[in-house]
């Protein structure tokens, strides 16, 4: 097993943990962290896969993608936090209520 493969598997595991957290954690801040963990997992996979070229020199394109991904993740996190803060401010809730449709 090469290092890149190890990293990639690691990334997938992180992704899985993050997915579990996003679905099953109830506290909103935990959810935010879990989503970011998912993101980190994907980025790790991408970085690992940048070693795909036979020459050993890393492929720059996945790096560029990760950079873009980080930017997206940062803004999404900011939006999540802003919404959660506002919800907490209005209702005192730290978790999503089960039924809010009606």
């Amino acid at each position: 097993m090469t290092y890149p493969t190890l990293y990639a598997i690691c990334g997938v595991v992180l992704f899985g943990i993050g997915f579990y957290g996003t679905v099953f954690c109830r506290h909103l801040i935990r959810k935010v962290m879990a989503v970011n963990l998912m993101g980190a997992g994907v980025f790790l996979v991408m970085i690992a896969l940048a070693a795909r070229t036979p020459s050993g020199a890393p492929d720059p394109i996945p790096h560029a993608m990760v950079l873009t991904g980080i930017v997206v993740a940062v803004s999404a996190t900011a939006l999540m936090l802003a919404l959660i803060r506002r919800l907490h401010h209005q209702t005192g809730l730290t978790e999503l209520p089960d039924q809010m449709e009606h």
């Binding site: 959810k31 991408m46 896969l49 996945p62 993608m65 873009t68 997206v72 803004s75 999540m80 809010m100």
Partner: protein, 497 residues
């Protein structure tokens, strides 16, 4: 050259306008919106004409070729999606301009309502992202545009400010981000295998191996979450129903279509040769379930906006029927049907949500029992709702009818009687909830209700949109011809088990 400018403009004009109105915080922000809308109309028209005349267009942005540059690509289906976006976008812009200026003038409302200054930049970014998505030629770009769409759409829901809306927005945001990350993981796997993110190149090289299937599944699962295909629709009704009046229609009409369009692209242009027929079949089974479940839930609702939102769940189900029907000899019919239904649903649903928004503005609630007799006061709005309903039910003459006819033809042609039955039954169930609203609103059992005045534009914008749906059922030659330009090669495939 013409097409290149049009494509760039479609993305850059709203983006630039968004930045300008945000930075300058101009008072004439609605005027900016309307100006953008007019420009977009011209650009869409010019691009469509160019595609009709000379086929699909590929443009390396700024002259940079892939893999460094960001290529744009437009074929028939992108053009149809752009027309849809422009149609819904322009009417929504006019509607929103009237809505927000009316809110500002009314001191009792303005305190609790979203500020006009935040709506416009968000909507313009959303518009730009939608156009960029429909014009993307690589799968990573699709990711970026999907995220832009998600973030601006969630923020637009949050504008409503009420706790209900915030909860719905947060739930939507988590679901959508999860979907995006699944998609991104799939992109990473694809890139590692094939070394490209251009879907044209992927389509040429894609192989039926495990890694490709993993990538395809991850991407499509992520997109299903964003498109709210049953049973992943849990976030949709609350999010669409609790958004501000001008936003609901954009969400149901356009935002969902964006992720659906990505699925269409990936499935039919990239993965079609390597996907097992059973996978497509499973999607159409889920689609059928969505039609039935969404319609029944819509019938059970007491709030009109929730009803319309559940109707979206059902109509999304219709879109997914294509994946089980896209095989020879009727595959092209199904493909055209699904693409045209996306267009029909966008216009009809946006019109329905606008009507609901106007009436809610007048009555102060969207509870159906508060709407009793409202149609006697506001015949034009209810008439508009009925026109939109005609398309949702799939009755002639409407774009929805043409689309359902094509799907039904494909289903029966393949001997898929259960699908045909679901298509027809879904139309009948839609009639139940559409006519429930219309019946209540025409009731004379109560005295004519007193309502708050509403700007004229909030009556006309949805009517124009609903008329467009009807016209779309009569003038069909051009859109269908458009869909043949750059249509995917639906190769001879076995009918699914």
């Amino acid at each position: 050259m013409d097409a290149e400018w049009a494509m760039t403009g479609l993305i850059m004009v709203p983006l630039a306008a968004a930045i300008v109105v945000y930075v300058t915080a101009t008072r004439f922000v609605a005027a900016w919106g309307v100006a953008v809308a007019m420009l977009q109309t011209g650009l869409t028209f010019s691009l469509t004409r160019s595609i009709l005349q000379s086929g699909p267009v590929q443009v390396p942005l700024g002259g940079w070729e892939a893999p460094l540059g960001i290529p744009l690509y437009a074929d028939g289906i992108s053009a149809l999606m752009l027309i849809m976006t422009t149609l819904v976008g322009v009417t929504s812009t006019c509607y929103a301009a009237a809505y927000f200026s009316s809110l500002q003038r009314d001191p009792r409302r303005s305190s609790s309502q979203p500020s006009i200054q935040t709506f416009w930049p968000l909507w313009l970014i959303l518009w730009s992202a939608l156009n960029a998505l429909f014009l993307s030629a690589d799968v990573f770009n699709l990711y970026v545009t999907l995220e832009l769409i998600t973030i601006s759409a969630v923020a637009l829901i949050g504008l409503a400010g009420k706790a209900q809306a915030l909860v719905a927005a947060i739930r939507y945001l988590f679901a959508a981000l999860m979907g995006s990350l699944f998609y991104l993981l799939g992109v990473a796997l694809l890139y590692s295998t094939y070394g490209t993110v251009s879907w044209h190149l992927l389509a040429e090289t894609v192989q039926p191996d495990v890694l490709t299937w993993c990538a395809a599944s991850l991407m499509i699962i992520g997109l299903l979450l964003k498109t709210a295909l049953f049973p992943l629709h849990f976030w949709l009704p609350a999010a669409h129903a609790n958004a501000p009046a001008p936003v609901s229609g954009l969400l149901s009409g356009l935002v969902l279509k964006a992720s659906f369009f990505v699925i269409l692209r990936l499935w039919f242009y990239v993965f079609h040769p390597v996907m097992p027929a059973s996978a497509g079949w499973m999607l159409s089974v889920l689609g059928s379930a969505a039609i039935l479940w969404g319609s029944i839930q819509a019938i059970r609702q007491q709030r009109v906006k929730l009803m319309i939102a559940y109707s979206t769940v059902a109509q999304v189900g219709y879109l997914f029927l294509v994946f089980g029907l896209a095989c020879e000899p009727m595959g092209m019919l199904a493909w055209r049907g699904a693409a045209y239904l996306a267009f029909a649903h966008a216009s009809a649903k946006a019109a329905a949500f606008m009507v609901a928004g106007s009436l809610m503005y007048m009555v102060g609630s969207d509870h159906l029992d508060r709407w009793e007799g409202i149609g006697r006061r506001e015949p034009k709005l209810i008439f508009t709702l009925a026109l939109a309903g005609v398309s949702l039910m799939g009755l002639p003459p409407s774009a929805g009818f043409i689309a359902k006819w094509l799907l039904l033809n494909a289903a029966i042609g393949h001997g898929r009687w259960e699908v045909a039955a679901v298509i027809v039954l879904g139309g009948l169930l839609a009639a139940v909830y559409v006519f429930r609203i219309i019946g209540v609103s025409l009731s004379s059992a109560v005295p004519m209700p007193e309502v708050a005045p509403v700007p004229r534009m909030m009556r006309w914008a949805p009517l124009v949109l609903a008329m467009a749906v009807i016209v779309g059922g009569i003038v069909t030659t051009e859109p269908i011809r458009l869909l043949e330009i750059g249509a995917p090669p639906i190769a001879a495939r076995e009918v699914a088990p």
